[in-house]
């Protein structure tokens, strides 16, 4: 596949988006951070808001100086060499940008880690990445006794949720955590030095400044971003400084004139996830805008004060977050006044959710598409154009996209095929996994595992995950389509669809639905089936319907079909 691929979507860029991506103005993320710090000095960069509304802020200059000190701490106190891995396992908060930018300035590689990981998952990720320093939330310090001895971690740095808040609010929040919620465990004896981040910064300030980040180049490794992928075991996608820098510019192209330094973006999605990492943290730091960090978006009520107290202009979210917000009275009655648009990603955005959002807020949800392996943005919906329902939009500038069949031959226009992506945002491969890399990355193309169709204008629509497709008597059923149909029922809060083994049809469609608590009418299996009969071809209608109180979800709120499938496997193994 070396021939040129057509880009039918360039016309849709309109006048404002350049079809070719210019090289980034920066050599590395550290360069970008330094430049933005100088340019925006006194402006507020981050405000962290806890559920009761208490908050703390850092200016661009403060983040710059603190991350410099952290870089000195890493290089001169922890004696890390450039390229060493630093694991950061923090919920959204003011310590996150300080630790992460500090790691980049030290020339180190960031290993983003989910704070809710179990000790086993932590051990796997730290051993696999070879992380030498761990920055972790003090709420999870109790897991370390088991983890640290089995890893190469030599230094542990603790940061709190109210870290860098003004002293009285910090004391109050910490007091509430300690005495009321009991969420601050004692730190076990680990056999390695443990410091709080303030102490680390104090040490760093007394050490020589680190300046050799100036030697970083776009091809240098910036992040190991772990992803479950299709095989189950988490593997680290190697993203370079150049990948992230390119993707920042690609997101900015998508936002065009709607993204400025005056913006205020709500960051309720976790920053350790690549979506918020690039779209919220990096893009808006580059712009000189303000990030409102919410440590935990669950329950959704935790976001209330952040939305009420700040003139939020942008929100990033996933389908479940938008749905959750709109089901809150305080949100539906008083939607944010200054909002320009929202960006959806992570999982398919349901039509019903997008339409309701438009009605309630008067703004659009622009659906984008991306994956960890592409830092993450691949395609987006230009904000100036009419909404194309269900479309993930057109590829970002500088990106090539092709849809292929099982023989890796391009499919005819309008037909469904696996989506392959090539561009400056594509990872270098999986860390220490040549076999996995070979399966996913060929000649610069990423095999996404998503099945898509492209319309004549180049707009893409994801039909489904290749592996989630249900094969009913030889017909392809895409769970998304059935879920979308189900979520249009008033009584249905959310839905998931999977395939289950069936003697007659090979596989059969099974639907899981959750009752909407705001609707008095109870869902019945009969109603669900009747509704689907009306809107879907017979083979797509669920054979079985299961009513649940909740559905399994990932940390960012993606509904996990794989967990439901695992339940089904167990069920059928027992029944057989």
């Amino acid at each position: 596949m070396t021939h040129d691929f057509p880009r039918p979507w360039t016309a849709a860029y309109g006048a404002e988006i350049a079809p070719e991506l210019a090289p980034s103005a920066h050599q590395s993320i550290a360069h970008l951070v330094a430049a933005s710090t100088t340019a925006h000095g006194k402006r507020r960069a981050f405000t962290c808001v806890v559920p009761n509304g208490m908050n703390g802020s850092l200016s661009y200059a403060q983040v710059g100086a603190m991350s410099d000190a952290f870089a000195s701490f890493l290089r001169h106190h922890c004696k890390l060499a450039p390229g060493a891995r630093v694991a950061v396992q923090l919920p959204n908060g003011l310590a996150y940008p300080v630790a992460v930018f500090g790691a980049f300035k030290a020339g180190c590689v960031l290993v983003n880690t989910n704070p809710l990981y179990t000790p086993d998952e932590m051990i796997h990720q730290f051993r696999d990445s070879g992380a030498e320093v761990l920055v972790i939330s003090d709420m999870f310090a109790d897991k370390l006794a088991e983890v640290i001895p089995q890893t190469q971690i030599r230094h542990v740095v603790l940061a709190g949720v109210p870290e860098f808040f003004p002293s009285v609010p910090e004391m109050v929040v910490r007091g509430v955590q300690k005495l009321w919620n009991r969420s601050l465990p004692p730190v076990p004896d680990l056999g390695v030095p443990v410091l709080r981040i303030r102490q680390a910064l104090k040490l760093g300030r007394g050490l020589p400044a680190v300046t050799d980040w100036d030697a970083l180049r776009p091809d240098d490794l910036a992040l190991l971003q772990y992803t479950g992928g299709t095989t189950g075991v988490a593997k680290g996608a190697m993203l370079t400084h150049g990948n992230i820098l390119a993707n920042i510019d690609q997101v900015k192209a998508m936002g065009a004139r709607y993204m400025t330094g005056e913006d205020v973006i709500l960051t309720a999605l976790p920053l350790y996830h690549i979506f918020a990492f690039t779209a919220n943290l990096m893009v808006f730091f580059d712009l000189g805008a303000r990030n409102i960090l919410v440590p935990s978006p669950r329950p959704v009520q935790n976001i209330q004060r952040a939305l009420e107290n700040y003139p939020v202009t942008w929100i990033t979210g996933v389908n479940t977050l938008f749905n959750g917000l709109m089901n809150e009275e305080w949100f539906a009655a008083y939607p944010p006044k200054h909002l320009k648009a929202a960006i959806a990603g992570g999982t398919a955005l349901h039509e019903a959710v997008a339409a309701r959002w438009q009605t309630i807020t008067g703004t659009r949800i622009a659906e984008g598409y991306g994956l960890t392996e592409t830092a993450p943005l691949v395609s987006f919906n230009p904000l100036d154009q009419d909404v194309r329902v269900g479309s993930i939009g057109i590829p970002a500038p500088g990106t090539d996209v092709v849809l292929v069949d099982d023989k890796v031959e391009p499919v005819a226009q309008g037909e469904a095929g696996e989506l392959l992506v090539r561009g400056p945002q594509v990872m270098r491969g999986y860390w220490n996994r040549p076999d996995e890399t070979e399966k996913t990355l060929q000649n610069g193309w990423v095999f996404t595992g998503d099945v898509a169709v492209m319309d004549p204008d180049g707009f893409l629509k994801i039909v489904d995950r290749k592996k989630d497709m249900v094969l009913v008597s030889g017909f392809n059923v895409y769970p998304n389509e059935v879920e979308d149909c189900l979520s249009k029922m008033d009584a249905v809060l959310e839905a998931a669809v999977i395939g289950v083994p069936d003697k007659g049809t090979g596989e059969a469609v099974r639907a899981y639905v959750v009752q909407n608590p705001d609707v008095a009418a109870q869902i019945t299996k009969e109603d669900v089936v009747a509704h689907c009969r009306k809107h879907l071809a017979a083979y797509k209608v669920p054979r079985s319907v299961i009513i649940r109180d909740e559905l399994p979800k990932s940390p960012i709120g993606k509904i996990l079909r794989k967990d439901l499938k695992a339940e089904v496997r167990a069920e059928f193994a027992k029944g057989a």
């Binding site: 808001v49 009761n52 208490m54 609010p169 109050v172 009420e308 107290n309 009275e329 008083y334 109180d549």
Partner: protein
Amino acid sequence: MLTELETTLLGVMMMVIMLGMGASMTPRDFRIAFRKPKGILVGLLSQFAVMPFLGFLLAVGLGLPPALVVGLLLIACMPGGTTSNIFAYFSKGVLALSIMMTVVSTLAAVVMVPVLLSFYGGLAGVPAESAIPPANVAQVLVVLLIPTLLGMVLRKLNPNIGATVELIGSVMGVVVILFLIVTWVPRNYQLLLDTGPAIYAATIGIGLIGMLFGFWVARGLGQDTNRSRTISLETGIQNGPLAVLVITLSFAPALQEDLLLIPVLYSLFIVLSSTAITLWYRRNATREALARDAAKLGG
């Protein structure tokens, strides 16, 4: 009974408590809550219909002397106390409903308390010299509304200060009761021993029976068990220190002793009875949560 300094101190502490109570929400929270007012209305009903009536029945049934009747009626007519929020939290109740009921009943109290007091006072045949002048009650409550509203605005304008003030207010709620214990009990030790069982029955009974009725009124009006437990605590737990303040501001020191007896005793005993009820409610809440989980797994 209480010295002038103590009365002033009590007034200041009440101001801080009300400031903290106001700071537990913003004006917008208040408007949002009234979009679905059923829970709050049920709470108001049990607060201002059930409790005063119970107070009246107890007063008449136990044959209390007029000064004690006034004290008991005043306690029965008071709005919810801020300590109810702490108990709601520990009983795994609906904290937001508890806070909202406290604030709403405090606002409504400006009108409701004077009206209810003169109504039940008249019915119980309280002589004019013992009756609390309705204007006085209204005045005290209006004065206390100022810090309440100020607190709400403060929470909106500066959440860091607002939430800190809320916390200080909650702590002050406990401090006031300790203050009453420390200043009043040692000096009235003998009085406590001399006080008859009827008075203790009235004092402890009004809180416990209020909680019992609060629960069943809420259940009867379709609230779920968890919300009903919250409404129950809210109904039984009255703003005792506020009643003490109203009396000290309305009567000359010589007249205060008998009038204050029930409000002070109530403020002390309600802490004990609420703690017991809270432990019981907490167990019920846990049991129900476990049953729900079990049903989920079975389904």
